[in-house]
Structure formats: structure tokens, C-alpha cells
């Protein structure tokens, strides 16, 4: 037993160390800063860990891509404004197949928005934020223990899929304190998969390339490359098809929610079935279809204006009811009021 009373952000930092992080690059931002502050203390203890406080998030993401290609496990953490700045770099990581972890502790946007209040407004940005087609893996924890576990899983999935993995935290979980037993989370770290730099003659480029040589005019080759890349990521994603489901044959309504919202939502009681995707991208289409079978109404409750709800409708090919919890006010009474308004509340 190694029970600790930890904040979500602290759990992420500790888990990164457990997962074998060798490089952290970042720029401070509320509500993610504690992750950086904790890791800033690490180089003094561990000379094999490098840490850099950069001039911005663009530098941070590019630095971890460089470090990753050079053979180190690397991570950065940020929130909405910084996550926006990182998008081009995330695309570079997809193209060069750089395993990295990006933690986004979401806050209310757009723009500087409401910096200290939580949100889930970056769900679609995590999926589609960079330009072009790409196929990211992302996880959404709903507790401090899950933040710890899924940080390690994110490192492992990044390594196995050779792609950037996003841990979609939110300001609530990031700052929530809970007691967790670190020993109970037994996820062995996956070793680095790529040989280190400086011995070979490999070329990594953001251009489409074939055997290290840019090949940028062959559409058929692009399609072949993209299919292979997507398949490789899907295989790894399938290993981590994480979700939680509470079936309820007697209810005509299933509630889908994720992250911290799912914990408030469970207070609605036994009148509903519940489904919570943990691996939020790629979406768990089969599992969601199965869970929703037999339920007339599908209600999606999330801290944004219906972002994942749109995905659910795409997956189910039918209408859902969206309960947006926006502006950082995550309260059961607010949720109940909107559910009443939309006639999906069961007293």
C-alpha cells in the first residue's frame, strides 16, 4: 500500500515519472501549472531527467517531438490557449510518428475565457485540432486515480502506436484532491521502442515520405500510407478500449458522460443506464452502439456545447439529447434544470 492524498495534477506528474519520462518541456498556464512545477524539481534528484521551461507552447511541443525522435520519453502539459498553439506540432508528431504525451487540463474558452474554471471544451480540438487528416488517441479520466493510471497508459499507448497521445484532463480533476493507493495501479511501463539518435542515418520529416525520402506528389502512395498509419494506431487503441457502463434494462434512457462530469451525473441515481467512454478518441463506436441498444433516449451530458453529443449521433445515426454544462458551473442542480427543460429528467 502506498496511499497518498494527491491533487490530479500531482498524480499526472508522479505517473509520468512512473512511466519513465525523460524530458518535460512546458510553459505555465492555469490550471495545468502544478504538473510543470512538480517536474521542475526532478532534475535535481534525477540527472537522467531533463526539464526545460520554454518561451511558449510552440517551442514546448516542438522540443518534445525532437526529444522523442532522439530517443527519450517526453511530455508537455497545458490548457486551452496553449493546446491551440501546439496543434501544428501535434501534426508533426503524427507525421514523424513521434511518441509523446500532451496533457490538456481544460478550462473555459474561447480565448482566455474563464481561466480558473473547468470545461471539456477541447474534446473536438483533441480530435481535429491540427490540420489535415490524422487519427489520435486520447483518454479522459474522471478521478485522481484515473489521472494517475491513464497518464501511464498514455505513455504506453504513445510508445506502442508511435503517435502523440492526449490526456484530456479538466480544471476540476486537475485541482481535485483524493486519496489514492499508487501500488494498486499496477501498469508496467512500456520501454522506448525506437533506437536512440546519433548512430544511424535516419531522416524524420513532416513531409509525406517513403523510406526516409520525401515523396510528396503521389496520391496513391498517400492513401496507402494513411491507411497503414490509421490501422497501426487502431490496433493500439483497441488494447485500451476503456469504458465504464452501468446497464439498466428498466430505463428507456441512457446517459453518456465522461471525465469529471460523469461523477456528478451518477448522482442522478438508478433511473437511468450510464455509459462513460474513457478512451475518448478514437471513439468507441461498437461499445457505444451496444450500450445504447434498447434505450429510446440517449442523453449526452458534457461541459461543452454538445461536442461529443454530435459524435454520438454520428455513431448511432439517431438523435440524442444534449445537456450542455457550460461556463464552468458543474452542479447537479444545473444539470437537473436543463434535463427538466428538455424533458429527459426522471424524478
Amino acid at each position: 500500500m502506498d496511499t497518498r492524498f494527491l491533487q490530479g495534477n500531482e498524480a499526472v506528474a508522479l505517473a509520468a515519472l512512473q512511466a519513465g519520462i525523460q524530458f518535460y518541456a512546458g510553459y505555465p498556464i492555469t490550471p495545468a501549472t502544478e504538473i510543470m512545477e512538480l517536474l521542475a524539481e526532478e532534475p535535481a534528484r534525477n540527472p537522467r531527467f531533463a526539464y526545460l521551461h520554454f518561451e511558449d507552447e510552440i517551442a514546448s511541443i516542438n522540443a518534445i517531438v525532437g526529444a522523442s525522435l532522439a530517443g527519450a520519453k517526453a511530455m508537455t502539459a497545458t490548457s486551452g490557449p496553449g493546446f491551440s498553439l501546439m496543434q501544428e506540432g501535434i501534426g508533426l508528431a503524427h507525421m514523424t510518428r513521434a511518441p509523446i504525451v500532451i496533457v490538456d487540463v481544460q478550462r473555459v474558452g474561447p480565448s482566455t475565457g474563464m481561466p480558473t474554471l473547468p470545461s471539456q471544451g477541447d474534446v473536438m480540438q483533441a480530435r481535429y485540432g491540427s490540420h489535415g487528416d490524422f487519427y489520435p488517441i486520447a483518454f479522459s479520466p474522471n478521478s485522481v486515480e484515473e489521472a494517475y493510471a491513464q497518464t501511464i497508459i498514455s505513455f504506453n499507448a504513445a510508445e506502442e502506436s508511435l503517435s502523440p497521445v492526449v490526456l484530456l484532463m479538466d480544471g476540476y480533476i486537475g485541482h481535485l484532491y483524493e486519496a489514492i493507493d499508487l501500488d494498486a495501479v499496477n501498469i508496467p511501463p512500456v520501454p522506448r521502442s525506437r533506437p536512440p539518435f546519433g548512430q544511424g542515418r535516419r531522416h524524420f520529416t513532416g513531409l509525406l515520405s517513403r523510406d526516409d525520402v520525401p515523396d510528396t506528389k503521389d496520391s496513391a502512395y498517400y492513401r496507402e500510407w494513411y491507411a497503414g498509419y490509421k490501422k497501426e494506431i487502431q490496433i493500439v487503441a483497441d488494447k485500451y478500449a476503456l469504458f465504464e457502463t452501468v446497464p439498466n434494462d428498466k430505463s428507456n434512457t441512457i446517459i453518456i458522460s465522461y471525465g469529471i462530469t460523469s461523477r456528478i451525473v451518477r448522482e442522478l441515481g438508478d433511473a437511468y443506464a450510464y455509459f462513460r467512454p474513457i478512451r475518448i478518441w478514437p471513439s468507441l463506436d461498437r461499445e457505444i452502439i451496444e450500450a445504447c441498444q434498447g434505450h429510446k433516449k440517449v442523453v449526452v451530458i458534457e461541459m461543452n456545447d454538445g461536442q461529443y453529443g454530435g459524435e454520438i449521433e454520428r455513431i448511432l445515426k439517431r438523435e440524442s439529447v444534449s445537456i450542455p454544462v457550460i461556463g464552468g458551473d458543474l452542479s447537479l442542480s444545473q444539470i437537473v434544470a436543463t434535463m427538466r427543460e428538455k424533458k429527459v429528467y426522471k424524478a
Binding site: 525532437g66 526529444a67 506540432g89 508533426l92 544511424g200
Partner: protein, 249 residues
Amino acid sequence: MYQEELKEYLRFSRWPTMWCPGCGLGIMQRVIAEAMKESNLDHTNTTIISGIGCTGRTAGYFNFDSIHGLHGRAVCLAEGVKAVRPDLNVVVVSGDGDIFGIGGNHLLHSSRRNANLKVIVNVNDIYGLTGGQMSPCTPKGVKTVTSPQGSPYDPFNAQGLITSNAHYFYARSSVWHQPHLKKCIKEMMSWHGFALLEVRDYCIENNGRRLGFKNPHEMLMQIKETYKIKSDLQPGQQLAQNELGIMTR
């Protein structure tokens, strides 16, 4: 001949390069490779990082582990590589638009942090790859496709930026002054700390012809006539605009 001598350094299987005939980038690349060879830098101890642009293709033409990253982000990406592989010589080769324009903030801070990177900037006064738009180094008054009335601005002063730091290695050379260029590269490679080298170059197809130059030779001759090597620099003295040299502190 030079292909045989430099085959460990340059990836000749990719020749011809994507650079236009007569481009100075080929000269710069060969001199870098020669200087590396003479400094015992090779694929076992060195990596090349580039951004985007004509110059940005340099990384891929080196026969080393190399990265061709994003436009403007070569320096910060390289700093990440260096952070986890301090044993490697990390060399950045990129264009004036890439390093001084879009990447200017990273240059400012990496040099201030004295990150142990060797940054070689090709200064062709233009955005070459995208077709000849005004770069931070386009001289005042020079017409480009995005400054049809002539650039209204003074060009970027890299020397001023770099030498504002407590410790620095700043050098300026050109693709005409090849022995000097090689000397600058060799000296920067043995410098411990952040080192920046500006290599004065030209762009015939996307700049020179519009300015009335008929061929690359005419542009090379202009570089030859404009720049003078300054070898007796006193501490604290700055290079004049038409001088080439090395300044360290």
C-alpha cells in the same frame, strides 16, 4: 570526386537536390560537410535539424540522423534533442525567414539560455521556397512580390540580437568566401554554447532575376564585391554591414 570524399556526410542517393541550378545552397552544404569532416563530426556524434524552406531541405541531404521539422521551429526542436542527448553535436541549418522571422522568438530565448546548439542561417534575403516574398533580411527598398514598392523596413540585425547576450558566438560569412566560411563553421563547432553563423547567399530564380541579375554568377560577384573579411576585430567591436568575421564573448 567530392561525392567520394563526402559520401559519409551527404546522402548522394538523393541527388539531384531540389535546389535550382546555380543556387548557393549547394555550396553552403558542401562547405558544412567539409568542415564537419575536418572537425571529426560524423553520423555517430552529430545530428542535423532544419525548419521549412529551400534551406530547410538541408537536413534531409545529410547522411546523418536528421529532422526536418516545422517552419520556424528548428531551434526549439533542436533544443529538445540536445536536452536529452547532450553528447550529440546538434546542428541547425535553416533559412533567414525560418530562423529570424517566424522562429525569431525561439532564437531570442535559445541564445539567451545559451543552449549548446550550432545554428547556421542561410541569408538569401528572401523567402525562397514560397516564391520570393520579403524576408526579415530583405534590404530596405528592395522590391519583392510582397513588397512591390520596396521593403519599407530596415533588415533584421542578428548580430545585435546575439551579441546582446552575456555569452555569444556570432559569425558572418558568405557562399563566395568559402575558406572563411569553413573556418567559421569549424570554430563554431568547437565553441561551447550557443553559436550562430549567418551565411550570406543569394536566390537567383525567386529574387535575383526580378532585380535584374542575369545569372547566379552575377549575384556571387556582387557578394564578393560587397563583403570584406574583418580579421582584427577588437573585443566589443561590431561588424559593419559589409564585413564578415567572428565575434565571441
